[in-house]
């Protein structure tokens, strides 16, 4: 009976709402929403027309970026962003490894598991920008607040993925190590660590990449880095400098993405 495994009749592709009347009601609802939503967009056409000229200047600035006249500020912002990215990624990873182990159901008792998952949930729910606003209020302006923000955001990302990885390890290998009478630390070192290490390195490199992108943004709320420089350039209507900064950001992100994916392939 090999034919039984193939469907012989055509079936409608799965639908979210199966009832025809409900589907029509839903479609009408979406249409009404769209009309209302588009209606609530107030466009000041005079302002847009004014802005088009600025837009042209921005595009011109993008095509002829000015790296030289504000180079001191750009390089300072860049150094801040890059150092902030590296330190926060390293510290974030160091902090998230114990949290990630604690948040894996097969390695931690229930109380520790819930506590660590709680930390992860808080870190993931709050956006980087919002954390940055608070940390700038607490620690003052500058890259230190940005460093803390990115470290905190790294915890939610890395600890969650690490915990999920540890939960998915091959139990047979862990069982084999445990059956030799290994302690918890020995099981961690010989059963879990070799299985998750390549993934951990890959994720760390990926997070380095994300942290650089974020470091370009949190400067807008005062947490240092290239974002602050970009914000100033925009405030001064220096579109040629702003274009230069954006090109640098795109360039670094591309280099980081390319090299990190290359490195990940090599390591795994």
């Amino acid at each position: 009976m090999s034919t039984a495994s193939y469907p012989t009749t055509w079936r409608r592709p799965p639908q979210i709402v199966t009832d025809r009347r409900w589907r029509i009601a839903l479609q009408v609802g979406i249409l009404v929403y769209l009309v209302l939503a588009i209606g609530s967009v107030e466009v000041n056409w005079a302002r847009v027309a004014d802005g088009l000229e600025r837009g042209q200047r921005f595009v011109a600035g993008f095509l002829q970026p000015d790296f030289t006249s504000r180079w001191n500020e750009i390089s300072r912002g860049l150094v801040e962003s890059l150092t902030m990215t590296l330190t926060s990624t390293v510290v974030g990873i160091l902090v998230s490894i114990p949290i990630g182990i604690g948040a894996a159901r097969n390695m931690a008792p229930r109380a520790v598991y819930l506590f660590c998952r709680g930390i992860i949930a808080v870190s993931r729910a709050l956006q980087e920008i919002i954390i940055a606003i608070f940390l700038v209020a607490m620690f003052g302006f500058g890259p230190f607040a940005g460093f803390l923000t990115l470290s905190f955001a790294t915890i939610g990302f890395l600890a969650k993925l690490l915990a999920d990885d540890i939960e998915e390890i091959d139990e047979a290998q862990a069982e084999a190590i445990r059956s030799t009478g290994a302690s918890w630390w020995q099981a961690l070192n010989y059963a879990v660590q070799p299985q998750v290490m390549p993934r951990l390195i890959g994720l760390s490199l990926y997070r380095l990449d994300i942290n650089f992108r974020e470091s370009a943004v949190i400067g807008i709320v005062g947490a240092g880095g290239i974002g602050a420089t970009l914000n100033t350039a925009m405030d001064r209507y220096e579109y040629d400098s702003a274009g230069a900064i954006l090109l640098i950001i795109i360039g670094i992100v591309m280099v980081a993405e390319y090299s990190s994916s290359h490195l990940r392939k090599y390591l795994q």
């Binding site: 799965p14 802005g51 921005f58 150092t83 390293v90 620690f139 460093f147 993405e257």
Partner: protein, 270 residues
């Protein structure tokens, strides 16, 4: 039985040279970290850092309790935020579909010429955060939710485009060949062979991006692009902490709700 006469006959996981290299790598990383740390904290005022726990306690005490009476005032910005996210997602998806078809190796009209352009559009859109897009657009077309919508749309192109073109490249060749065998034209192959296969992925990606966009549009107002962020900025400027708490609670509730909706929808599709 031969005696082990030389240490190299004992099995080791790595050769000594490799171990040395790994140690050198770690040492270099630590050195780089220390150096970066020193450069970064050069201008840090440590008195502020020491003072931070007291500041945190102070802000915390000011933030409690949230000002519930401020909630009705937040309804219009909330509506704006939802509109920015939804209309921005729609715009982004509309722009991303042709880019994705150009970027996918099997549907691109010209692999040598158009594909690199499409890939560049995707990378450029992804590497610039929506807050930066909004910063540029507010400067160009003025503050308001239109700038927010366009910022979200431009940012979504990269995300939707990348995931969609990967889905197109992973389509089943057999189904496409079956349609080609009937003598279908290029457009017919596209609409009967490829589009039905990527449709579930397309809706899944769009809803997922909508969910992300809700989070992002909530803060776009910080640079003047309308929505809840505008109220957040205003409350922060006058140090009205109970109002800040209220706004953050509302953002959190919206984000949780949108995550639930998107999870439900994706579950229904895939």
């Amino acid at each position: 039985m031969t005696e082990i006469t030389h240490h190299s006959q004992v099995w080791t996981y790595r050769t000594p040279k490799k171990r040395l290299l790994i140690w050198a790598g770690w040492l270099a990383l630590v050195a780089l970290f220390v150096w970066c740390w020193q450069v970064m904290t050069k201008d840090t005022i440590w008195i502020f850092v020491q003072d931070a726990p007291r500041q945190a306690a102070d802000i915390g005490s000011r933030m409690m309790p949230p000002r519930w009476s401020y909630l009705p005032e937040l309804m219009v910005p909330l509506w704006d935020t939802l509109n920015i996210a939804t209309l921005g997602t729609i715009g982004g998806v509309i722009l991303a579909v042709p880019v994705a078809f150009m970027a996918a190796r099997n549907t691109s009209p010209s692999v040598t010429f158009l594909r690199p352009i499409a890939l560049f559009i995707i990378v450029a859109s992804r590497s610039i955060n929506s807050l930066i897009w909004a910063l540029l657009l507010v400067a160009i077309i003025g503050p308001g939710i239109l700038a927010g919508i366009i910022a979200i749309a431009l940012r979504s192109i990269g995300f939707v485009g990348k995931l969609l073109y990967e889905a197109i490249e992973e389509t089943d060749r057999a189904q496409i060949e079956a349609i080609e065998a009937t003598g279908a034209s290029r457009a017919q192959v596209l609409s009967y062979g490829i589009v039905p296969q990527v449709m579930p992925a397309f809706w899944g990606i769009s809803v997922f991006r909508w969910d992300i966009n809700i989070r992002e549009s909530a803060i776009l107002g910080l640079v003047g692009a309308g929505g809840l962020g505008l109220k957040l900025q205003a409350s922060l400027n006058v140090l009205a902490w109970p109002q800040v708490t209220m706004i953050l609670l509302l953002i959190l509730a919206t984000v949780v709700l949108s995550e639930w909706v998107s999870a439900r929808v994706r579950h229904a599709i895939i």
